[in-house]
């Protein structure tokens, strides 16, 4: 685990670490750093988009069906001969439910895909890790990585001039 002061440092280091051949790496920052997920080789986003789309379509179809079924099949009422399937009148509810289901699936999807809630994670044992949610940027090379060697990896990280390099027990 290496601690850095600026986001540019951690992005540059991530590029180099990846170029060196490490794969099980992660970075922790107090805000979203541009270019960092790509530098780490992580592809994010397609699953979330799909979840939100499914949620939205569910809301849309479900909402419309909820309005349509009672008025056409379940308990149709003849009001001055007006059409049972008065779809313009069903639009507001359909729209609101689309938004509701999309928003809920976005948030629940994001939280679930991130693996949260996860109250315990080994990185919390890193000394000074509370700075990760304040002003410092951390790069972590996991021991599960095939190239990992305690001494070599440590020296390699030290070469990028971090504030500190520490070992974290899992």
């Amino acid at each position: 685990m290496a601690e850095f002061v600026t986001p540019e440092q951690v992005v540059a280091t991530a590029h180099s670490v990846r170029a060196e051949g490490y794969r099980h790496i992660d970075a922790y920052s107090p805000f979203a750093v541009e270019g960092l997920p790509e530098a780490l080789g992580k592809q994010v986003g397609r699953k979330l988009s799909a979840i939100v789309l499914c949620g939205g379509l569910t809301g849309c179809c479900g909402g419309f069906f909820m309005c349509w079924w009672p008025n056409v099949i379940g308990y149709p009422l003849n009001i001055g001969g007006k059409p049972f399937n008065s779809w313009p009148a069903f639009i507001p509810i359909t729209f609101e439910l689309t938004i509701l289901f999309s928003a809920l699936s976005a948030v629940i999807g994001m939280i679930a895909l991130n693996g949260l809630p996860m109250p315990y994670h080994p990185v919390f044992n890193a000394p000074n890790f509370d700075r990760a949610s304040r002003d410092r940027f951390f790069l972590c090379i996991e021991a599960s990585d095939p190239k990992f060697d305690l001494r070599e990896t440590r020296d390699f990280l030290e070469s990028f001039d971090p504030v500190e390099v520490t070992e974290v027990e899992s």
Binding site: Y28, N71, M110, I111, D135
Partner: protein, 464 residues
Amino acid sequence: MDPVETNNLTAVVETEEVLAPGQTYLSVSDHISDMVLEWPIGYRWAAGLLLALGLLFMLNLALGVVFTVGVGVWGINIPIGWGFAITNFVWWIGIGHAGTLISAFLLLMRQQWRTSINRFAEAMTIFAVACAGLFPLAHMGRPWLFYYLLPYPDTMGTWPQFRSPLVWDVFAVSTYLTVSLVFWYTGLLPDLATLRDRAKKRITKIIYGIVSLGWRGSAAHWSRYDMCALLLAGLSTPLVVSVHTVVSFDFTIGIIPGWHSTIFPPYFVAGAIYSGFAMVLTLAIPLRKYYHLEGFVTMKHLDFMAKVMLATGLVVAYSYVMETFMAFYSGNQYDRYMMVNRMTGPYAKVFWTLIFCNLVGPQLLWLRKFRLTPWLLFVVSLVVQTGMWLERFVIIITSLHRDFIPSSWGMFYPTRWDYMTFLGTLGLFFTLFYLFIRFLPMIAIHELRDLVHKKQEEAHAVSH
């Protein structure tokens, strides 16, 4: 509220930048999390909370009376079936819209000035919608049958009237409350992690730890998080427009003059943003003063918010003019009389106060001096909020009390229970808001850090 010590970065630095110069990731994180974790409970905060709780108690009493005795304790009658309750409902929902606009729409427009204000503006939205939601419930003649509005398969095989705007309201307002809550909570997640990491007492650490869900700031998580925030912003923006449109449809389906008008949806949405920004200013100006946030909620924010208020105020003014013009141009005697009655009838004083508050007062904001003097801006924001409440009152009561046939005309006089219910909801709103500023970071810390980063990059680019 009175800090034990102030370091020189929290000294009053009035600036017209979006962020006071000299801020770092650490300074912004620490200032805002200190407000929750370190600063002692000030007497001002405690006094404010006590007052708000008093008003909340009054709300409890007023609602208790309405639910047990009936809506007759209010001044409503036939023909004026809707009085303060719906006025308050529309007023509170309108106020809520600015928060969502700031959080969502300004995010999509990539406006940096949203950063310092969006957290408490979104909190304002949630609390305002909570207050608004009480009224549809309370104004029912048979509130114990409220669940008839919900679509569940019942033993009679009946369903709510899905073609009615009153039912659309149920879905719109519930969706709005839920989406706002969820958007707000998502924004809070990383900040709750910051509070968890800085908390000294074990119990505080545990509580913030639970609600932050173990957020650790991993890069992939941030990427998904940003995507989620952008999606929510994109969903919330049309939601804002649609919710107040649906609320305006409550009136437009009616056939009485002054209600049955297609101008209502844009008119209401503009009015909502108008009163909403006024409320954001009413909250922002004292907050920045008493919590030394002048470096974060700067003159630029006040300036921009004042300009938005002025712009929407002009749209509202245009709507009034158009409404009046169309009433006369239509040649319809009932529409014409509705307008004449508003201007010269029994509620004329209310109408002209409304015109002064909404049209004349905010024109002061053309002057830079007014936009950049906090206490003047505060007064103008209160004037605008009063004006917007009066507008809802005028729309509802003047159209109801004199419609087509003179034999069905009547008068509405508010009773003490009307006033108590309204002031009581102010109590609910401020109680929730005081609790919010005590226990949660009132400015989005992680977004501020991002802003610091952007500012550093800009400064870097300029110097090269």
